[in-house]
Assembly symmetry: C2
Homo-oligomer: 312 residues x 2
């Protein structure tokens, strides 16, 4: 079981190589993925979601998950996570020596059927089988996808989300993630759901996963933080995206989140300058501009020379 290391005031789990790369039309070469993950480890991340053991036919961009896990340098103190949808995926993740597996089922039946080809109940029964197999061998996190709304069904009742959280906890998972899978959350909703989930899960085990699809990703982080949440998923450059909105941004952007947090006086344990350099290299890897703002604008206190005086 992986140890959860809380170095600073908030913990950022980097998900670019999983949630980001999975929807890219280009296949990022395996050696580039490994190089990026090693650089992320060096930048100070204690948690990196490396890849996903899903069907390579469904997600060809991550077909090299095992090679990536075997190629990366394991930095002591960093937990390398694999997303896993089902027992077959869990076996592959264990074989690849993932430190932690992240099980994902949607609270929306329609979304889970579309995404996983089964009901949420069938997914969760698979998780119970996985827990029996892996208990003690790796850490297990479980994610409630579409927790803040489903693009097919609309809003999901909070009681249903919390029932799924309790179900996960009864299986003995080490952590729970509430995921705003397609960026539908608003800050008031976030504050309410976090306030209800925290007493069940605890701030050291609860992760919030936001997308910036409608521009309020960091506002949702702020609302979650003020409600007591301390762990957040984010993707370098704001990689990721929404299959229904080609121009929309994806996950909240790691370096924008880290910049905001550090400016607020919240320690992240991360080297922001290193993150900015890595983010500025992403267009080379994915073949397009990425949404992150601080990489374009510079840090707030990167000052500029004053221009020549204008005549009055």
């Amino acid at each position: 079981m992986s140890e959860i290391i809380v170095r600073g005031d908030i913990v950022v789990q980097e998900v670019a190589t999983r949630d980001g790369f999975q929807i890219e039309p280009v296949f990022v070469p395996t050696h580039e993925k490994i190089r990026l993950i090693d650089a992320l480890s060096a930048a100070g991340f204690t948690r990196i979601e490396v890849s996903s053991f899903v069907s390579p036919k469904a997600v060809p961009a991550l077909a090299d998950a095992a090679e990536v896990f075997s190629g990366i340098a394991r930095r002591p103190g960093t937990t390398y996570v694999a997303l896993v949808p089902n027992p077959r995926g869990a076996e592959r993740a264990l074989a690849a020596r993932a430190d932690e597996i992240n099980l994902v089922a949607s609270v929306s039946e329609t979304h889970n059927r579309a995404n996983m080809g089964m009901t949420p109940e069938a997914s969760i029964q698979g998780f119970a089988a996985i827990m029996t197999t892996v208990r003690g061998e790796v850490g297990v996190n479980a994610t409630v996808a579409t927790a803040f709304g489903c693009p097919f069904e609309g809003p999901e009742p909070e009681d249903k989300v919390l029932a799924q959280v309790e179900r996960y906890l009864s299986l003995g998972v080490d952590g729970v993630t509430l995921a705003d899978t397609t960026g539908m959350a608003n800050p008031r909703q976030v504050a309410r759901l976090v306030a209800r989930a925290l007493p069940l899960v605890g701030s050291e085990r609860l992760t919030l996963h936001f997308h910036n699809t409608r521009g309020c990703g960091l506002a949702n982080v702020l609302a979650a933080y003020e409600a007591g949440a301390r762990r957040f998923d984010a993707a370098l450059g704001g990689l990721g995206g929404c299959p229904f909105a080609p121009g929309a941004t994806g996950n909240i952007c790691t370096e924008d989140l880290v910049s905001m947090a550090e400016e607020m006086g919240l320690a992240t344990g991360l080297d922001l300058d290193a993150l900015l350099a890595l983010s500025r290299d992403l267009p080379r890897l994915v073949g397009h501009d990425v949404p992150g703002q601080v990489a374009k604008a510079g840090r707030p206190l990167d000052l500029h020379p004053a221009p020549p005086l204008r005549a009055a």
Copy 2:
């Protein structure tokens, strides 16, 4: 003096045709500006910053300010504002029948010299002269630019910002804006400064002007709202920008702000669907994509048909 109309829970002042268009390299034709402002009036704005009476040489994009003011349809209940840097600009704004003038001076001496060609003290002495001339004829708002930091000087002391606010109030202005001119603010700083400014200014007269340069514009709105602020500037499509960061976004995006507010249950009095249609037309006017997210992704509850089921 213009009446401040608070229709809903927050008041959004639209600034796209001023703060947005002023940095565009293309000149948006006068009839298009008029058409857009009339459409914004119809969408429910009670406050629109129409244009700026600055030197046409310094800001050629707004050289048609007087023609725009004379061409727009004045909707009852909407205040049409003109930005004014000096007494000459105030005369032109009065001649154009602006309902309100917005006086701007930076708290940063370096920024004010670069932007206005004079010290902040000289700017404010000019405002005193303007107040003597216009008192009772038009409403007057006064803006503290670089209130959350200057791109040349760095952080500005809060006491200095508040001293400028008090100076404005002693001149008899009707409203005060704290402007994050180049997007350097963070939510904790915003909460602190709003908490200090509100007892002086009052929530009905205090406006927050944020840029999304580093991605946390809406988080700053949330922090300001929670600290008691109710009035916000925003630009359709997130127009605007930062002269030091060509790829960075500009003002906070009106329709993204309105979407977030309405999802939170805060009334804005605005027709979001109309705003989205206007935002989607902006690339035609300015010749490039604009940063607004909701116009690309759709409203959170614009649902999608479920895809065909995947085999398990």
